[in-house]
Each structure stands twice: as structure tokens, then as C-alpha cells.
């Protein structure tokens, strides 16, 4: 009896939504909507809670540092200096601000200023291109290289550079790890031959990979004045991140279902056909699981490697802001942190979609 009543209630309250829902998402059922609304509500609530805690935390840290500064002025220079310090902090003057965890509002302001900065630089760039158009046309006509804009990079440019680097590294990892994985997966003796190699190099830290790549690339580029920081960083990222793909590919290829191999034998497929029509398709899901791990590892180590390689990107941005120590540096670092996190999440989602597309046993997908 009770159940019936609650059901009726629900029916009434949802009734006005019905035509709307039917229009927007025909396959949405009333039963699906409540949980999904609840889920969205919980997400929003938890974000608000997070922001609240962050705000309180940064406020507490701010007060602690401010009090310490005033206290210090009092003990070292006396009451007048302490009052001056207090007034200075209260006025918001940048020279005496506590330099601690920024509050959410400060971070938001930093994001706005970074975007504004990007617009300014873009306008600069456009103006430069326009101004140089005639000159460049002449230069190109004469067979010389055109003059390009070499001003400061904006935050958006930096993010794009990082994405470019991670994709170059990812591509390198893919080109190395998948073919090698397939080959060692096919041959048990090669597998044991490569095993020690994989076991030893897999756990090596990104810093060491960077140094190794640096040693080699530096010599290869010797006498060449062009900037090799990008090359070094994407190669390091690729080498560091490729192991998951290598191991997964080898595993996928070596553990193909015996039934499929029997089919290949009974149909008398040639070696090439067998590899490309049976073994590879059946190991694709595992290969893509590996590639997904590789991409997320690549994005994670990229930040550290850009920093070391002094190659433009988010890693270097964060480091420079930290060294810089300007008033809004900390806020910018937090902006970068969120950007890194969100891009990492999006990359993972892209890979997950691709992975689900190639997985023929959808219910087995991770």
C-alpha cells in the first residue's frame, strides 16, 4: 500500500517533465532520470564542498602567515612597524602579501588574466603578421625565409605545445611498442630474450630517461644551433610511456584464444593473413588498454620532462611561475594544475571511447 502511494507521488511530480524528456532524449526513461539527477546533484554538491574547504584552508594559511609577519615586525622593530605591516597587508599591497595557497577566487582571477593575456598576445601576433606581410612576401620571393613572430607565448599556446609534445611522444611510443610487441608476442624465444630488457627498463624513472635521451640527442645535434628541447622532451616522454603498450601488445598477441588459431589452421591462412586477420584483431582490445595507459603515463611524465628539458609547455610554465614568485604566481600554478588535470581526464576519455569501439566483447571492456 505504502509503495503505491509513493509511486503515485513520483508520477505526479515527474509528469510535467514528461513531454520535455520525450523531446530531448527519447530513449531516456523516467527510471533513468532520477538516479542521474541524483548523481549530478551529488557531483555539484561535492564540488561546492571542495571549493568551500579550499577557501577555508587558504584563508587559514593566509592568516597564519600574516600574523607571523606582524608578530615578527613587532618583536624585531616594535609596535609602529607592526601596525604599518598590518595596514600594508590589509591594503592588499603586493609587496607585503603573504605568499601561500591562493584562494579559489584568486585562482579564478588568474585564469581570467591568463585568458586576457592570450587575447593581447594574439592581437599582437595578428598585427605583426599584417605589418610584415609585404616584407615577408618579398623575402619569400627572393627565396629567403620569412620573419615569424617570436614574442612571448600565451598560456593557451603553452597548453597547445604541451598537447603537441604529448601526442608526438605518444605516437613515438605507438610506433615503437606495437610492432615490437607483436613480434615478441609471436615468438616465445624472442619473448624470453626481451624479457630481462623489459623488466629492467620498465621501472626507470622519467628523469633518467630524460638524461639518457639528452646524452644521445645532444651529440646527434652537435654543431646544430636549432632548438632540440622539443625533440628531447617528446622522445623522453615516448620512451618512458611506451612500456605498458609493449607489454600489453606482447601479452595480447601471445595469448590469442586457441579456438581462433585452430580456425586459422583449418582455413589454412598464410602467415600474413593469420597475423593481420586473426591475431591482431583478437589482441586489439588489450593493445588499446595498453595505449590508454601509455597516454596517461605520457601526460603525467610530460610535466616533469618539460621542466627538465626547458622545453616550452605546462611543466616549464609551472616551474617558471614558481621561480618567479610574483604576486599571482601561486594562483597561476593552481590554474595550470587544473588545466593539466582536465586535459589528462579528457585524453583518457578519448582513449576509453576508442577502446570501447575496438573491443568486440563490449561487456568485457574495462
Amino acid at each position: 500500500m505504502e509503495q503505491e502511494i509513493t509511486l503515485k507521488k513520483e508520477g505526479k511530480s515527474m509528469a510535467f517533465l514528461k513531454p520535455l524528456l520525450a523531446k530531448v532524449t527519447p530513449k531516456f526513461q523516467k527510471a533513468d532520470l532520477l538516479p542521474s539527477l541524483k548523481k549530478a546533484g551529488i557531483t555539484v554538491l561535492s564540488i561546492l564542498l571542495f571549493l568551500g574547504l579550499w577557501h577555508l584552508g587558504s584563508k587559514a594559511l593566509y592568516n597564519k602567515e600574516a600574523n607571523f609577519k606582524i608578530e615578527k615586525a613587532l618583536t624585531e622593530q616594535g609596535q609602529v612597524a607592526a601596525d604599518a605591516e598590518r595596514a600594508c597587508i590589509a591594503s592588499g599591497d603586493s609587496s607585503c602579501q603573504p605568499n601561500t595557497l591562493p584562494s579559489p577566487t584568486q585562482v579564478w582571477a588568474s585564469l581570467q588574466s591568463l585568458i586576457a593575456d592570450h587575447k593581447v598576445i594574439n592581437a599582437d601576433k595578428a598585427a605583426f603578421v599584417e605589418k610584415m606581410a609585404a616584407t615577408n612576401a618579398k623575402l619569400v620571393a627572393k627565396g629567403k625565409t620569412a620573419i615569424v613572430y617570436t614574442g612571448r607565448a600565451s598560456f593557451v599556446d603553452i597548453v597547445l605545445t604541451s598537447i603537441k609534445t604529448v601526442f608526438a611522444g605518444f605516437l613515438l611510443a605507438l610506433l615503437i611498442a606495437v610492432p615490437i610487441g607483436v613480434i615478441i608476442g609471436l615468438s616465445p624465444s624472442l619473448r624470453s630474450a626481451f624479457n630481462w630488457f623489459i623488466q629492467i627498463f620498465k621501472p626507470v624513472s622519467p628523469v633518467v630517461w630524460y638524461l639518457l635521451v639528452f646524452m644521445i640527442v645532444k651529440t646527434l645535434y652537435i654543431g646544430d644551433s636549432s632548438d632540440n628541447a622539443f625533440v628531447i622532451s617528446f622522445i623522453s616522454v615516448g620512451l618512458c610511456a611506451m612500456w605498458a603498450t609493449l607489454v600489453n601488445t606482447a601479452m595480447g598477441v601471445s595469448s590469442v584464444d586457441k579456438d581462433y588459431i585452430n580456425v586459422a589452421k583449418v582455413l589454412k591462412l598464410g602467415t600474413f593473413q593469420k597475423v593481420f586477420k586473426v591475431i591482431l584483431p583478437s589482441s586489439l582490445p588489450l593493445i588499446f588498454t595498453g595505449l590508454r595507459i601509455t597516454l596517461s603515463v605520457a601526460w603525467m611524465v610530460l610535466i616533469a620532462i618539460e621542466l627538465l628539458a626547458q622545453s616550452q609547455g605546462l611543466g616549464l610554465f609551472v616551474w617558471e611561475e614558481f621561480q618567479n614568485g610574483a604576486n599571482d604566481s601561486n594562483a597561476k600554478i593552481i590554474v595550470a594544475m587544473f588545466v593539466i588535470g582536465i586535459i589528462g581526464f579528457l585524453l583518457d576519455q578519448i582513449m576509453l571511447t576508442v577502446q570501447n569501439m575496438v573491443s568486440f566483447n563490449k561487456n568485457e571492456g574495462v
Partner: protein, 279 residues
């Protein structure tokens, strides 16, 4: 010389202490154009026997001769319907059959191959599902795809490992007729593994029981002297059918009893006591 000959076949899996001899002293000879059925209990080694004949595995000792030549590898002359369907899950029904047809007729053009795929998929009544992937099909539908794939390759000898096990009686009957149809065209040779004695009697010229394993070996053969084409409905009233059927079932029950009495091992149960979470 028989078309297919198995001489003193032994097959052992594993090595050393773990070795189990699954098949012992198997002797079988099948003439060209014959339809032979093998009935046996589960786990007795029927699939092992099939794989020996189609060339997927090699006997521990003894020889398999196909048209007088030792079998060393698989061949398009011997088509196989696997017990577990073995369809490639990333290919659709049509693509699974197409892959086989393309290998069997390497010289034919695409139109011919496509037509052949369509014909055989239609034969197993799966035309509406031709673009579906195996995981979207029921077990019986998958089994029919496996039948279509093997038959579309036009093999000289058809080897079937419980090909109709997962089907309902009606579909089963239809497919039995289709298989008989294809077998009787150009007098092919067929080996059918089945657990259904009636199916064996309806389809085969001879039924040979495989005794329960380990050390499974073939029992005495039962000849089916019933005129072809056989009529399923009339079969039940056929005196010959009744006699043969009773004889085979009696024999199978006897060896089933024998197995029970042989395996009077005593099992030692582990010493278990309920665990108390309170104390």
C-alpha cells in the same frame, strides 16, 4: 585402401606423472562416400579424435591416413565444424563465412564469393542476421554459422563435432536434412560426432560407440540398414530402426555401468571444521 584410415592410434596428453592416455588403440576405416557416426560419453575423447583426423594435433603413436597419405596438417579437403563454434567475434556472420570461402576458392571473383556466402547463410536461415556479430546471436544461431562456414568451403570430407547440439528439435531436423543433402551430392564422405543416438541412426551408415575414457577405444560397430532417403516420421515404425536403436542404447548403458563399477575409488575428504568468528 580405405578413404580414411586410423591405425593403432594412441593419444596421451601431458608428460611424466601428469600424463593421461585419452585414446588407446583406435582403429577405424571409412570408405569414400560413407557416412559414419561416432557416439560417446562426454569427456571420452571425441574432440581429440576429430582433431587427430583433421590434422590439428598429432597422435602419440599410430597413423592417420587420408586417401593413403599420412595426415600431417590441416587441409581444405577436410572441412571441420567445431564443437564450440569457433567464430571470430570481431567479424560479422557474413564476414566469418566469407573468410572461409575466400580461402577455399582463391581463384574466384568477388561476386562469386559473395553469392556463395549469401547462399550458405540462407541455407542455415540466417540471412536476416548476416550483418550481426557472433555475440549478438544465440548459441544455436552461432552453431548454424559454423555449419554454413564449413559447408561453404565445399570440402570432400565433412568432419562434424556435435554440430547440432545446441539446436531445438525443428531446426535440428532441418539442418540434418541440409547436411545429408550436401553429403549426398557428389557422394562426399562424412564423419559425425554426436551424443544423440537417433540422430546417428537417421543420418549415418554406421554407428561406432567410443567407450568412456581414459584409454577410450572404439566399440563394435552397428550397421544401419535403412533405405535412403530416410523418412523421419516413418522411422519410428521401422522394425529395423527399433532393433538397432535398442541394441545401441543397451550397449551404451552396459559400458556406462561398467564405467561406474570400475571407478570405485574412495575419495578422501578434507578435514574441515566450521570456523568460529566469535572466539
Amino acid at each position: 585402401m580405405a578413404y580414411l584410415e586410423l591405425n593403432n592410434i594412441y593419444k596421451t596428453y601431458g608428460e611424466g606423472e601428469n600424463a593421461t592416455e585419452v585414446l588407446s588403440d583406435i582403429n577405424l576405416s571409412i570408405e569414400e562416400g560413407e557416412f559414419v557416426a561416432i557416439v560417446g560419453f562426454t569427456g571420452s575423447g571425441k574432440t581429440t579424435l576429430v582433431n587427430l583426423i583433421n590434422g590439428l594435433i598429432k597422435p602419440t603413436s599410430g597413423e592417420v591416413l587420408f586417401k593413403g597419405e599420412p595426415v600431417v596438417d590441416t587441409s581444405h579437403e577436410r572441412g571441420v565444424i567445431f564443437q564450440n563454434y569457433s567464430l571470430l567475434p570481431w567479424l560479422t556472420v557474413g564476414q566469418n563465412v566469407y573468410m572461409a570461402v575466400k580461402e577455399a576458392f582463391p581463384k574466384e571473383n568477388k561476386a562469386f564469393l559473395k553469392q556463395r556466402v549469401n547462399d550458405y547463410v540462407a541455407m542455415v536461415s540466417l540471412s536476416p542476421a548476416i550483418n550481426k556479430r557472433p555475440k549478438e546471436l544465440s548459441g544455436g544461431m552461432r552453431q548454424r554459422v559454423a555449419v554454413a562456414r564449413a559447408l561453404a568451403m565445399n570440402p570432400e570430407m565433412i568432419i562434424m563435432d556435435e554440430p547440432l547440439g545446441a539446436l531445438d528439435a525443428l531446426t535440428r531436423g532441418n539442418l540434418q536434412d541440409e547436411i545429408l543433402n550436401i553429403w549426398s551430392q557428389d557422394k562426399r564422405t562424412a564423419l559425425l560426432i554426436t551424443n544423440d543416438v537417433d540422430e546417428g541412426i537417421y543420418m549415418a551408415d554406421r554407428i561406432i560407440p567410443l567407450k568412456p575414457g581414459p584409454n577410450a577405444t572404439l566399440g563394435p560397430e552397428f550397421k544401419i540398414d535403412i533405405e535412403r532417403p530416410r523418412d523421419k516420421t516413418a522411422l519410428n515404425d521401422n522394425a529395423n530402426f527399433k532393433k538397432t536403436r535398442n541394441a545401441i542404447i543397451e550397449y551404451l548403458m552396459d559400458i556406462g555401468e561398467e564405467r561406474k563399477s570400475v571407478s570405485n575409488e574412495t575419495y578422501e575428504l578434507p578435514d574441515l571444521a566450521p570456523k568460529s568468528f566469535v572466539a
